[in-house]
């Protein structure tokens, strides 16, 4: 069993309106899988299908080899799930709510819950109804992690968290992976996925646009490089380099857009006495836009 999550042509329509148009996913064990897309792309639909809360219109999905429709209960026991819009009971304290879920799940080590609460700086004695949005979200995170599930499915998990807590949360995600577990993390915010994900999938209009390792995406990516020369930049020679997509001059600095390897570029530029090199690390945002751009222009 290589894949923790496996889908075959998984599709879902709501009253005839397609939300997910047949996706084939294979999420390997022990990775953080970033599931990206703008709002309305079908992220939450995918996640609710995987969680067994809704039924596919076509295709099927397995989690740990368990069919999410016919073996739903067994599959659900192995998942820690954070809904996109997590809600708990307003009249229960964090402690009462998490104890309730611990009883319903069985086999929860309460000291782990306390460690999670401490790590997220969460006071469990407060009623959920009286909590801030950020603290409510922490309750949601705690309930997803509390039973040490083999697979975490987290939908827009950092919504409402302040940056410090966000970092702790991303640390928990990394720890889960280092522990041999698998994390399926959906988001429309790229940098948070970029920080932890090993593989990303980009979803658009209910279809997968790309599934790729983050490292590979970055090496394929278009990056921006600023070269400052001691003399006048050798504009003509730089233009000849195939990897250079675009070039702009400002004084003695050439602002270049480069795709792929930069080896030839530097071989050409070096004899002209480079005073300074500034490279801008490509972030997923640019990659994301590049994929969307391609899609947008038929």
């Amino acid at each position: 069993m290589d894949s923790v999550i496996h889908t075959w042509n998984l599709a879902k329509s709501y009253r005839g309106r397609p939300a997910l148009r047949g996706i084939d996913l294979a999420v390997p064990r022990n990775v953080v899988f970033g599931y990206l897309g703008p709002n309305g792309a079908g992220k939450t639909t995918t996640i609710r299908l995987l969680a067994g809360l809704i039924r596919p219109t076509a295709g099927h999905a397995e989690i740990f080899g368990l069919d999410v429709v016919h073996e739903r209960e067994q599959a659900q026991c192995r998942i820690g799930y954070l809904p996109g819009e997590f809600v708990a009971y307003p009249d229960l304290t964090g402690q009462q709510y998490l104890r309730y879920l611990a009883h319903l799940r069985g086999g929860v080590d309460w000291s782990l819950v306390e460690r999670i609460a401490k790590r997220l700086d969460l006071d469990l004695s407060v009623r959920y109804g009286a909590m801030s949005h950020g603290n409510r979200q922490k309750i949601g995170i705690a309930q997803a992690f509390m039973h040490r599930p083999d697979l975490l499915i987290l939908d827009e998990s950092t919504a409402g968290l302040d940056p410090l807590i966000q970092r702790e949360f991303l640390g928990m995600v990394r720890d889960a992976r280092d522990d041999g577990r698998t994390v399926f993390l959906s988001s429309h915010i790229l940098y948070e996925v970029e920080a932890v994900a090993d593989i990303v999938a980009i979803l658009r209009h209910g279809q997968l646009v790309v599934v790729e390792s983050v490292d590979k995406l970055k090496t394929q990516a278009v990056r921006r490089i600023d070269l400052t020369f001691e003399g006048a930049p050798p504009l003509g020679e730089l233009r000849e380099v195939p990897a250079v997509r675009d070039i702009r001059l400002s004084g003695s600095t050439a602002h270049l857009v480069v795709e792929g390897s930069t080896a030839q570029l530097f071989a050409v530029a070096a004899p002209h006495r480079i005073a300074q090199v500034v490279t801008h690390e490509p972030d997923l945002e640019e990659i994301f836009m590049a994929y969307y751009g391609q899609e947008a222009q038929p």
Partner: protein
């Protein structure tokens, strides 16, 4: 401790149950306190004769001169059935559809609680709550009967209270089932209330119109109120009410198990 959906559901109902209990006790106290002056009215039977015949039939006013007949007419024929039905429908609609609309159902179903277990535990919790309210009714009438000399026996009273419980429970389970099938609380309340009104209309029509009489036993109100309910003993017809409610709940289990849970 909240160890199960059943216990959590009972905990959620505790305030409502206390409030409804107080209301029912006060209502009974008020009616019972009226009894001594009604009983001592010198021309009671003449007064009752002046009511239209249909009213006398509907509320069984011939027996109004006894404590049992008095409470049957005043409370057990309309007021208490309605109160028990309203309580049960409200709780039933809330128990599954309410959770789904609030958005708390998602996480609940990810535990070992399956949709089927959820509905069954909620149905059991609803039954427990309605029985608890019935016990309050029983105790209150027994105490007031002793205090104001209504002379109602414990066995008669137990039958009457049970009729209220079972009548409420049938429509409460119906509301729970509609809520589980659709995920919509307002719809659950609407359907169950409409069914209760229809059942009441059938009961009243059967009482007043001979042509409808053969259909009257189909009405849960007829099953609950025929010949009493105080003093009717323990009619076999009582069995239809929980049976019909249980059948509706059972029918809805595969529907709830197979349908999409609405995203919040």
């Amino acid at each position: 401790m909240l160890r199960s959906v059943f216990r959590k559901s009972l905990r959620d109902q505790r305030r409502a149950l206390v409030g409804w209990s107080i209301g029912i006790v006060l209502l009974i106290l008020l009616e019972a306190a009226l009894w001594p002056s009604i009983r001592d009215m010198p021309d009671l039977s003449q007064f009752l004769q002046s009511y239209p015949e249909s009213m006398r039939k509907l509320f069984n006013l011939e027996d109004f001169g006894t404590g049992t007949g008095f409470l049957n007419a005043e409370l057990f024929s309309a007021m208490l059935p309605i109160l028990f039905i309203v309580f049960a429908i409200g709780r039933g609609a809330r128990s599954v559809a309410g959770e789904e609309e609030a958005g708390t159902l998602d996480v609940l179903l990810m535990t070992r609680v399956s949709p089927v277990r959820l509905v069954l535990q909620q149905a059991a919790a609803l039954a427990t709550a309605v029985f608890a309210l019935g016990t309050v009714l029983f105790a209150a009438v027994l105490a007031c009967s002793a205090a104001f000399g209504l002379g109602i026996g414990a066995a008669d009273l137990a039958g009457g209270a049970l009729a209220m419980v079972l009548l409420g429970l049938e429509f409460g389970w119906l509301a729970l089932a509609v809520g589980a099938a659709t995920g919509r609380r307002a719809l659950a309340i609407g359907v169950a209330s409409a069914a209760a009104v229809a059942a009441y209309v059938l009961y009243v029509a059967g009482q007043l119109v001979d042509a409808v009489k053969p259909w009257q036993p189909l009405s849960p109100f007829q099953q609950a109120l025929d010949g009493g309910p105080l003093g009717a003993g323990l009619p076999a017809a009582y069995g239809w009410m929980p049976l019909a409610g249980a059948v509706v709940v059972a029918l809805v289990l595969p529907v709830f198990n197979g349908r999409d849970i609405a995203a919040h």
